[in-house]
Assembly symmetry: C2
Homo-oligomer: 247 residues x 2
């Protein structure tokens, strides 16, 4: 499969890389593309973020959306820039260089990459990918996954940025949950994102009782083995009003 | 004056630009470098952010610190990346192209620039610059200043980012004030950053009375014409503890 269009000139100095985090109700996952070097029989199979060099006439944001869509099939991702990575040697290992030159059919020198980020709720439709796509979800903490280029650094920075966003604007978390959720489900999201456990009582006090935008519903869980928990709801309308007043 | 070292190779595809905001107690200022094209007598004198192409063997953060220091003389700026700008035509107007090729002594094509940002308290030592430096402070809202390249966009995005940071982490504001400050001084900082006026009573309620980390001191202003106001203090120790607990 040709990655790049033969009719569009490349700008071989700058690329985009898309860190797509997903939450499936239990774990924080990240979408990775497998990188096989079949031509050289060197026997490696490592992974990278969906990404691409930018075309000569292409804006960065456009390149990120294009690369994410071409590689994963996903549309309407709200990809946001979070950091640009430019260590002079970040793509210069022999393996990285060979892979790049094979993909681009040209010599490649230093590449600065612009990191994009999104965090999505993994509904059924994005839990797995067909054979058309060379990508799969991995647990963020999966230490058996070998990442190419400087992608371990990009992953670490992306994770830090997501945690920063959730800490300063908790509303992000509610996009990962169903409209009606339990305290347990909210705690699972925080546990996955911050990779830690919480004391139940402290968690409920800090993130639920002290959060005026969380409304307890009359309805409880049904048909569960544990004690049925009350459903909660995040008051998006009040949140939107608050943002308007603040700005 | 030669801007670039003749002995270090340039990487002419990527640059850094540093948006240095300053607060002088009254207005939000930004540090700009004047761009004169004396060789061509074209009679323009516009402005740009302190910045530079990166050298071939140079990291992005290093380039930002180097450029800011070389151009302004300022050291120890906490410059942070905030966004990368890469519209294909962002540096391709005839004036921009000529200026770049004159400065670099080489042909220059598309340049992607990585934006860096900082906000400093303008003490006496940074209120003006000597003749060694081609830079000066301007009011952020000064509509008579013409900015080169896509720097109007960079300024707008930097301002948005600073406002976002202050809104989500108000502690940033207290770095701009003396250790003991009045409600009026705090309001002046918010007014300057958000470019708006505040109703005094609403401001005090929202930003002072509702902020447990602001401590009212026994001491009042002296020798002032208006009614002497009580001094306030931001409890940095409690703030640091809170950050530790949150993380």
């Amino acid at each position: 499969m040709e990655i790049y269009s033969a009719t569009r000139g490349l700008y071989p100095h700058v690329s985009v890389d898309c860190v797509i985090f997903g939450f499936d109700g239990q774990a924080l996952k990240v979408l990775l593309m497998s990188r096989r070097d079949e031509a050289h029989n060197s026997g490696y199979n490592d992974y990278k973020f969906p990404g691409s060099l930018v075309y000569a006439n292409e804006d960065l944001d456009t390149a990120a959306v294009r690369a994410a869509h071409d590689i994963t099939g996903l549309r309407d991702l709200r990809l946001r820039q979070f950091r640009t990575f430019g260590a002079p040697d970040r793509a210069s290992s022999p393996r990285d260089k060979r892979w790049l030159e094979n993909a681009t059919r040209q010599q490649v020198g230093r590449i600065v990459t612009v990191g994009y980020l999104t965090l999505i709720k993994m509904g059924e439709e994005v839990r797995s990918f067909g054979e058309d796509y060379n990508v799969a979800w991995f647990d963020v903490g999966d230490s058996t996954v070998q990442l190419a280029f400087d992608h371990p650094l990009i992953l670490a920075e992306a994770l830090r940025e997501i945690r920063r966003q959730v800490a300063s604007r908790p509303a992000v978390v509610f996009d990962l949950l169903p409209p009606k959720f339990t305290a347990r489900e909210l705690r699972a999201a925080y546990s996955a994102i911050f990779s830690r456990t919480y004391d139940v009582r402290n968690f409920n006090k800090k993130f639920i009782e002290n959060e005026p935008l969380i409304v307890a519903l009359d309805e409880k869980e049904r048909n569960v083995k544990h004690r049925a928990a009350r459903y909660l709801r995040f008051d998006r309308k009040a949140y939107a009003r608050q943002l308007t007043i603040d700005s």
